[in-house]
Amino acid sequence: MDVKSPYLHPEYETLSREEINKLQTERLQETINRCANVPFYAQKFKEMGIKAEDIKSPADIRKLPFTTKQDLRDTYPFGLAAVPLTDCVRLHSSSGTTGNPTVILHTKNDLDEWANQVARNLWMVGLRPDDVFQNSSGYGMFTGGLGFQYGAEKLGMLTVPAAAGNSLRQIKFIKDFGTTAIHAVPSYLTRLYEVMQEQGVDPRKDTKLKTFAIGAEPHSEEQRQRIEKMFGMKAYNSFGMSEMCGPGVGFECQEQNGLHFWEDYYIVEIVNPETLEPVPDGEIGELVLTTLKREAMPLIRYRTRDLTRVLGRACPCGRNHVRLDRMKGRSDDMMVLRGVNIFPIQIEKILMTFPELASNYLITLSTDNDNDNMTVEVELAEMFTDDYARLQSLTKNVTRALKDEILLTPIVKLVPKGSLPVSEGKAVRVVDKRKVYQ
């Protein structure tokens, strides 16, 4: 470990694209061979006539079948294990609120590689062994706990498993232990700041805090900036999912221009969730990940259902690993209207740029005179005028901005605040009344 180096693993982090391609090809072949021990994959490969030597480049991954969350459920608990259970040392499981839980197994090497990914990320944003890392994330089955714990320890930091909640104790730890970095969900940091204010603690003067890792819940760029401004320090976006290991899969570098996804560990694809064909860089699609190093439970072309897009690869930080945009929502939410794929998040993004509008909206798809139409009802934030012309020009401007984004002209309707249904938890944003679906 050279504490002056910006890279923890320069041999992997600074690979050129050609080198990444070569490494991925080798590792994908190894992964296919490991999958021979998994009846689920062995049978599919046999049916499709796939052999490891058919893989000549990472693009050949398109010859391989997808894996879905349902496949994980159907093979619960150990059906996708590629090694005997005696070689596994850990399992993480989802809560299973919507069916069978999903189980992910890890060998000792898997845990070690997972810790390497997290350590690499934390190093990337400037943390070193003399930092004090407080992990204010849930522990237990939630991978954000042990994932960051092992990673921070691997880097060599003094690591405080503070776990989630109890803000007064968190603040005491931060002050007493000289905490310099925290990992937490973004909404918790806002809460922590409020408690600091109540307690008369100024994070700039009274603590040594300088860095946050935030993730595990969707948040906007605006929310990140709010956190950074509040505390006067940097907050880096972390991507993880338990199916891959947990946190570590992707992380922002100090450029904060997308999350680097580690292509020595994963093959990253962005596909159209309908056709499953790859989409061009810059276009939103579903993130599909293939593990390249996992021993206990390799996953081939796992459909994450998360929507994102490729921002680029080469980065001023010196890394060429693909940079992805923050997650844009879930592919389950995609609408197809007159052949155009539209995600509610695209609509939301545009509506949020109008201060006259409130945050509640409803998209209705309907068939009128054999034409499929989209109606966007959006609540007025307040009655900012009593002038028809101004209200109508607002409607017109919203319509035009939406058309520029989705390439179709929706019918925009302003509605009074509070008139759209608000559901508990996840709001219902799309109602499909089209004939074809009835």
């Binding site: 007025l380 307040e382 009655m383 009593d386 509605v415």
Partner: protein
């Protein structure tokens, strides 16, 4: 003059909801007008207590605002409205919307103009009587 402007969704019953809220609060409506467009309406009301009406509507989650409008008292004779409007037209002031009502034998002309300051000036210069 304070006018209450209420955003009305084009849906059966919304107008009644508003009127019921005002009824419960004992607000008396002096004059009102509503115009229809395809998607929404603005219900404009002159009432005895616009501030309180605004508060009770807001408490019920009804989108409203208080707007300053002009209310000019007219003589009860033919051509009076034309005479007054001509004064504004001469001063190059346009009318965004207008409605009128009778109160104790007096005609009242309510309107919002394109230029508040100049309208005030005309009212002063021509000695028009505000309601």
């Amino acid at each position: 003059m304070k006018q209450l402007s209420i955003f009305i969704e084009n849906k059966r019953g919304t107008l009644l909801t508003v009127l019921n809220v005002l009824k419960e609060a004992g607000i008396q409506i002096i004059a009102s007008t509503i115009s229809d467009t395809q998607d929404f309406g603005i219900y404009r009301i002159i009432c005895d207590d616009p501030e309180r009406a605004f508060i009770v509507l807001k408490e019920q989650g009804i989108t409203a605002t208080i707007t300053d409008v002009f209310a000019i008292q007219l003589e009860d004779e033919p051509g009076e409205a034309a005479r007054v409007l001509a004064l504004f037209a001469e001063a190059d002031i346009s009318i965004a919307y207008m409605y009128s009502f009778l109160l104790s034998g007096k005609g009242i002309l309510v309107f919002r103009s394109s230029d508040t300051e100049r309208t005030k000036q005309v009212i002063k210069e021509k000695s028009l009587q505000e309601f």
